[in-house]
Amino acid sequence: MGMKFRCERDILQNALVSAGRAVSTRGGALPVLSGVHLVLVGDLLTVTGSDIDLTITVRTTVAGAEDGVAVVPAKLVTDIVRSLRPGAVDITMEGDELSMVSPPSEFAIRTIPADEFPELTAPEGDAVTLQGAAFRGALQQVVKSASSDDARPILTGVLMAAEDDGLRLVSTDSYRLSVCDLAGTSILSDGQKVLVPSKSLLELSRLIGDSEELTLRLGQQEASFEVGNVSVTTRLIEGDFPNYRGLIPTNHPNRLTIDRGALLDAVKRVRLMAQESTPIRLSMSSDGLELVAVTQDVGQAHESMPAAYQGEDLTVAFNPEYLIDGIEVAPGDEITLETVDELKPALLRSVEDEDFLYLLMPVRVS
C-alpha cells in the first residue's frame, strides 16, 4: 500500500520521538515492535510505538497526497529525521521501501511488514479530565520510589487509589515510600484502586509537559491517557499492593526543619565523598545539621548548616541518592525530617504542603 505526504521536519521528529518512547528495546517475540507504525488518512498522520505493555500514539497533521500504512525501524528513522536540515520532508512509500527526501539528502529504508503490527485497542470507558500541571507534579513525586526490579512486579507500579474526596498515588521499592494526595481529583469510585506501571507514568509525565489538562479512561486491564494529540495506553499490574499505611510511624519524637534548596545543595556536595555504596550521615542537634560522608581510601566530606531541631541529638545515615530523590520532589521551600531513631524510617515532608510524604529507611552504620 503506497503512502505519500509532506511534513515539516520538526513536526515529524516530535511525533517519532514521542511514539518511539514506547518502542520495545528488548527485541523479543514480535520483531515488528522495534518499529513505529505510520498510518496516513487524508492529512492525518498517526504514529504509534508499542512494547505491548505501553503504547504511545501521536496524531499530527501533514500534507497528505496518498493514504497508506507502513512500519519503519523506529530508531533509524528517528535518527535520520533528526539529522535532516530544517524544512519540509517528502515521504513516499514505494513497494517495501520508504523514501525520505529533504534536499540535498535522500534516504530509502526497508520497511517492516505492516500486517505484523499488533492491533491494540484502548479502553472505552468514560473519560475523566485531570489538570495537567497538578497530575504531572504528583507523578514526579512518586515515580522515583517505584522499584525497577521485575522480580517484584507489584513494586514496579504506582498505586492509584480513591482517598477521601481525591486521588492518592503511592509507590515503594521497599527502601522508601512516596505518597501524594491530589485533593478534589475524583477519577476512581470509592474503594477503587489500580496499579499502573511506573515506567508508563514516567513517560506520561514527560509527555504532559505544559499541557493544561489530560483525560483518563480506565478499562479492566488497561488505562489510557490523552494529552493533546498524544494518547498513552498502558496495561495495569495485577496483584495486591503492600499495606503501606502500617509502615508510616505515627509518632516521631525528633523533628528537623530546614531550607529545602540549601539541604539539597549540601547533600549533593557531600555525596561526592559517599562512594562505593557508603551512606551519608546526618547529625542533628540544637546547633543545627551536620553532614558527613567518608569513603575509605578515598576521603571525606563535611558540611554544617543552620536548621531548627527539636528532640534528642541523633545521627542517622541514609543512602544519598534516595535522600536526594525525596528532597528534590518535596514541594515548597522548607521541609521537615522527622525521625524516631537511627534504625526506624524517617519521614520527609513539606512544611507548606501536607499532601506529600516521603518515608525513607536509614542505612545501618557501625
Binding site: G28, I52, E116, L343, M361
Partner: protein
C-alpha cells in the same frame, strides 16, 4: 518433542492480535504441551508461543492446529506445506547445574531447616529419586515427609522439577504423602501461581541473613 518444519501462517488472538504471514518456520510441540513457533534466527525466543496448560487440537486433514489457553487466548497455526515432521522422546531433563550461591544456599538451609518452616528437621540432603536427587528431604512437626527444591531464583522450571520429584516420591508407600516446598531468594509470580495450583508451598529466604550477615540497607517491609 514433536518438531515440524513447515510453510505456515500463525494468528494469535488474546490480549492483542498478532499475525505471522506465510513463511517457513519450525513448530515445536513439547511434552508438557507448550507450543512454540521459531524463525531461523535469534538465540531462544520464539516468534509466538503458548505455554501449558493449554488444549491443542491438530487437524492433520486441514492442516490447522488450534492451541487454546484456559484464559481463552487462541493460537492458530495453518500448515500450508510440511517439509519435516519428527518426534523424539527426550526423557526427563536433569536441569542446570547449581552455581556457587545456590549450592551454598542449599547447605545453609540444610543446617537451618527451621528457617524454611517451624519444626522442620532434615532427613537427608540430595535425597535420591529415580529421576535425580531432590535437594532436601525433611520431616515436618507432624512427621510428614517434605521434599524441598532450592533455587537461587524461583521460576516455573523449578516448580516443574519439584512436581516431577513429588510424583516419584509419592509412589513410595514408606514416604507418601510427601508435600513439596519451593525455596528461593526470589520467586517469580508465575512460579508462585503454578506452585499454588499444585499445592506446593513457596518460601523466599534471605541469603545474607542465613549467612549471619545483616544487610546495612534496611527495608520498610
Amino acid at each position: 518433542m514433536r518438531l515440524v518444519i513447515a510453510r505456515c501462517t500463525v494468528d494469535y488472538e488474546g490480549r492483542l492480535r498478532a499475525h505471522l504471514p506465510e513463511a517457513t518456520r519450525l513448530v515445536m510441540v513439547k511434552a508438557d504441551g507448550c507450543v512454540a513457533i521459531h524463525a531461523d534466527g535469534g538465540a531462544y525466543k520464539p516468534l509466538n508461543w503458548m505455554n501449558s496448560p493449554n488444549r491443542l487440537v491438530m487437524d492433520d486433514h486441514t492442516g490447522v492446529w488450534t492451541v487454546r489457553s484456559p484464559k481463552g487466548d487462541v493460537l492458530t497455526i495453518t500448515l500450508h506445506e510440511v517439509f519435516s515432521d519428527t518426534a523424539h522422546d527426550l526423557g526427563v531433563d536433569p536441569g542446570l547445574r547449581k552455581d556457587g550461591v545456590e549450592a551454598h544456599l542449599q547447605e545453609l538451609l540444610a543446617d537451618h531447616p527451621g528457617s524454611i518452616a517451624d519444626g522442620l528437621r532434615l532427613v537427608r540432603r540430595e535425597f535420591p529419586t529415580d529421576i535425580g536427587p531432590v535437594d532436601l528431604m525433611c520431616r515436618d512437626a507432624h512427621g510428614v515427609a517434605v521434599a524441598i527444591e532450592v533455587k537461587r531464583r524461583g521460576e516455573i522450571d523449578g516448580v516443574e522439577q519439584l512436581t516431577r520429584y513429588l510424583d516419584f516420591l509419592n509412589r513410595d508407600p514408606t514416604l507418601s504423602p510427601v508435600r513439596g516446598v519451593f525455596v528461593a531468594q526470589v520467586i517469580k509470580p508465575q512460579a508462585k501461581v503454578l506452585a499454588a495450583d499444585r499445592e506446593i508451598d513457596c518460601v523466599e529466604v534471605d541469603y545474607d541473613e542465613l549467612r549471619g550477615i545483616e544487610s546495612p540497607n534496611l527495608k520498610l517491609f
